[in-house]
Symmetry: C2
Subunit: 243 residues, 2 copies
Amino acid sequence: MTLGDGLFETIKVTKGQPRHFHAHMMRLREGAAALAITIPKTDTAIAASIEELLVANALQDAAVRLTVSRGPAPIGVLAPETQMPTMLITASALPPAHGPVRAIIALSTRRNEQSPLARIKSLNYLDSIIARQEAERYGVDDALMLNTQGRLAEATCSNVFFLIDGSLVTPPVSDGALPGVVRADLIARFRGEELSLDLDHLSRAEEAFLCNAFGIRPLIDIAGQPIGDGAPGLVTQMLATRV
Amino acid sequence: MTLGDGLFETIKVTKGQPRHFHAHMMRLREGAAALAITIPKTDTAIAASIEELLVANALQDAAVRLTVSRGPAPIGVLAPETQMPTMLITASALPPAHGPVRAIIALSTRRNEQSPLARIKSLNYLDSIIARQEAERYGVDDALMLNTQGRLAEATCSNVFFLIDGSLVTPPVSDGALPGVVRADLIARFRGEELSLDLDHLSRAEEAFLCNAFGIRPLIDIAGQPIGDGAPGLVTQMLATRV
């Protein structure tokens, strides 16, 4: 764990049911394959452990976090020959519903779309933490991160969507967007399209929102420029009730 | 610790004395400032803890690892308002002296010189682990990592130096080289120069070596192309006895 050598998933649980469970498991296993980590349990066993944890803590609605580490390793960057991966499952109360988001464009760091880590939910999360600290210094809620070529990738723990000329668009995974579970759902069910976005696109957006496992939040202001009329958009509000 | 939100240093100890102790502490504190982590101890207290650990384990020669984590945090990427950072100090036997290194150029990932993480020794080390796994698949010892612009940055846990036209050169920190402690020592004491290096430079190298806290290892082959005559160089061997 001391080199960030692992993966995680954060799963929303409502009425005792993990949301998008199979999509989370698929992403976890794709990440494990990329890092050559063996997930020590089947999906069925993981689902049973989550249920046991929820029952033991009398939780109906919760945020469940799965953390998988490669396990003990000798000093250095070489993976151990015999893996003994560990899995930690924790549950906490759902984060409170938050209102609209004001964001900056992070200047402190860039998301590296040229690394496979951009496409998996690994424990190497410091670039997002640095960008979020920058947002805090500016007194806003979040930061949008650019990739190494200056194109938009995502926010610090959410994907980002824009409504431009009536189309729902979001940065492609190849530009450094994490393949989010709710992002995929929006693409599949609401004809969202992947589109490389640079800063010029933002001024043309009629609406914008962030999404992650916990849902959708309107993005109403980027670097002091209001999106649309600066209020949560109609399409955004409609989608927020349906993910 | 579950987001790689911390820093580390690996210090070589010989005859009970930590090598380059103040340079390691300076880098640790620069990293802590970049991440807004408070190091919970003074350098003097850290030195005393290291000595205590070495004495308790009857170690004269050792690899000491300091790991600093931001400490407990709520779920999400926002740093806790009140920090309770933790420091873990471990000691293990010095790694055995290794021979010359054959390396590939990593194709699996790039080092992100556009992130401040390239300049600090953070717990986000997965890109190096991925590159080292690629080297393993090719049956060689290590991988040289390129930055997002295709320039040479470093190896997976070492800096890299070349002797070109009689000059000792190494990639600049701005190209994604970690500011290594032995690297700095070589620059200061042996007139090493920072120079942006692309793949064309490698074919002109008379000698090459890797260096980290544990010393210098000759680099004799890159992607199947021998460096110089393919044997450890004379300058390399001379320097290896003096760091």
